[in-house]
Symmetry: C2
Subunit: 335 residues, 2 copies
């Protein structure tokens, strides 16, 4: 029995999140695929292996510029399966609804779930609905789980990292976090940040015959790029070295992050992924991503070098700094 | 856009639950296995088919006589897969935690999850952890999803019902609902009702070569036996006729239900299932169940007759009444 209490920082995607998961979750459930801290598990099956993933969504507010909790719940699980090298096929949807929720709000969210599922070619095949009294949830929480087929062309894992590998992003970073923040804080921009909430599975599939050159993929949700890049190299003999000048971000998103004092690398995206791939394939891979609207902003943002499991940023001003996991809770209920 | 608000009755497992699911969920997501209102979906796969299910758990209080939200989350999904004729294999676990939750409480729940998973021979393979501010959930909500293999010996479906079939329960009914109710209402019995929270997958597997004689299985959770039996015959040309004298219930559970004015058939169980099977196999099936502690109270409680999709009870006093879906919300947050 450990003492202490759960804090918002335990849900941040940062250091305390990771400690909670390592100490209390992984310590109990390490027999399975969980041991590798993945976004999804690989289920051994005759024929193609399956990928299995889940996420709860508690975003506040339910609707934000560019999306709502419904499409977020679909794309979140679709993306977790995709970045594990899977083709998403089937989703479950479990609803926790607050007494007094307007039925019209529920319907609008369910319409978004339906549209998002159609966009991704996945089926919502099973679900559950619970209702709690007023004041026992905030409108609604959704939990999606998903099952997909592993695309055999991918061979992903930290063990494949090599000095010289390239680090790519599929698009500009931080739009989701800053869009939610702007509406939550009542910042009424004429044209504020818009969430990137969307699917990445088409980009993953578009890697095609370059798939074997891809070594790791992760979607930078809670904790942002900083969290997933640190996890990618954690415990390895490699660093990720980012070039700040090459990191794409929408001007409004970058501006708001600066005004509010956030590090763009700590801000969640919900329709992007980061990939490490062989340097020789990187430019071709980025070009393939750019053929899709959701990959139009794909860019090579850094490289892998011999090191000590750190993420280092070469700043635009010529400096060099460590990019650490976020501390504390910057943005509660961002997804 | 429909008008109106979500009420507790929408989460009851009764008539309003069913209307909400039919009007707003199934109307949008009928392409898949959802159309048949199952507890789980069948995923077509080369070789054995897979069963996929999910449930959110919002039970209050988190700990109750006989269990807690942790083992409930494991057994609930294990049982949904089992009663769809599946062998549960892999589970996901998504946590929504309230800021301020005692870490010791979380650890006790996770220990129960671990033990329950071991009991069932399933692995927790993936998960998620979110934290919401104080007052935005009630301690914790858990959502489990599960994947299992379909046991090919079962051929389940309403289309197989025939007049003369037997209706079985794997054990006494209503213990879970009355155990939660007793602690919630502060009724301090010396020996009050104890939840039946537990797995039924061993009983399902024990059907063995009798599996083909089993025509339908359902676990009577929210809405109780009344809800699942009504669903079993809804829209068919058959009635279920129950013999009240043969319906097993623990004395304390029966007494508390009577004191509080509840119909035992409306009260949730969390470690039982009801089965319809060929009459000739019924007694042998019940005997097989009785070989396990969790099936010790198995009993034949009624039969299928030509009819109009209703559930009819022959009462102990010689009367006959319709058993309807529960109306309103009898027991919010029972699971």
């Amino acid at each position: 029995m450990r003492s202490g209490k759960i804090t918002l920082a335990h849900g941040s995607g940062g250091r305390l999140s990771r400690e909670l998961i390592e100490r209390e979750i992984l310590s109990r459930f390490t027999a399975g695929a969980l041991a590798a801290l993945p976004d999804a598990a690989t289920l051994p099956r005759p024929g193609n292996e399956l990928i299995f993933s889940t996420d709860s969504f508690v975003v506040s507010p339910l609707f934000f510029p560019g999306g709502n909790i419904g499409d977020l719940a679909v794309y979140g699980t679709v993306n977790d399966i995709a970045v594990c090298g899977g083709k998403p096929l089937w989703l479950s949807l479990a609803l926790v609804l607050e007494e007094g929720l307007e039925l019209s709000v529920l319907c609008a969210v369910l319409d978004s779930v339906k549209n998002a599922a159609q966009t991704c070619g996945v089926q919502i095949v099973t679900g559950d609905t619970k209702v709690v009294q007023r004041g026992q949830c905030d409108g609604m929480y959704l939990t999606s789980a998903g099952v997909g087929e592993r695309l055999p062309a991918f061979a992903l894992g930290q063990s494949r990292l090599a000095a010289g590998d390239a680090v790519l992003t599929s698009g500009p970073l931080g739009d989701h976090g800053m869009a939610v923040m702007s509406v939550r804080e009542g910042l009424n921009f004429q044209s504020g940040p818009t969430s990137d909430t969307g699917p990445v599975h088409r980009l993953v599939a578009a890697a095609g015959e370059l798939s074997s050159a891809v070594k790791m993929m992760r979607d930078p949700t809670r904790g942002g790029a900083a969290a997933v890049l640190n996890e990618m190299v954690s415990g390895s003999n490699f660093d990720v070295v980012l070039d700040e000048a090459n990191i794409p971000a929408a001007p409004n998103t970058r501006a708001l992050a600066e005004i509010l004092g956030f590090d763009l690398l700590h801000i969640a995206s919900e329709g992007r992924f980061l990939a490490v791939c062989e340097r020789a394939a990187a430019e071709e891979l980025a070009q393939r991503f750019r053929r899709f609207p959701e990959g139009a902003g794909a860019a090579i943002i850094g490289s892998v070098a011999a090191g000590q499991g750190r993420v280092v940023l070469n700043t635009v001003t010529g400096g060099r700094r460590l990019v650490s996991l976020p501390e504390g809770e910057l943005l509660p209920r961002i997804c």
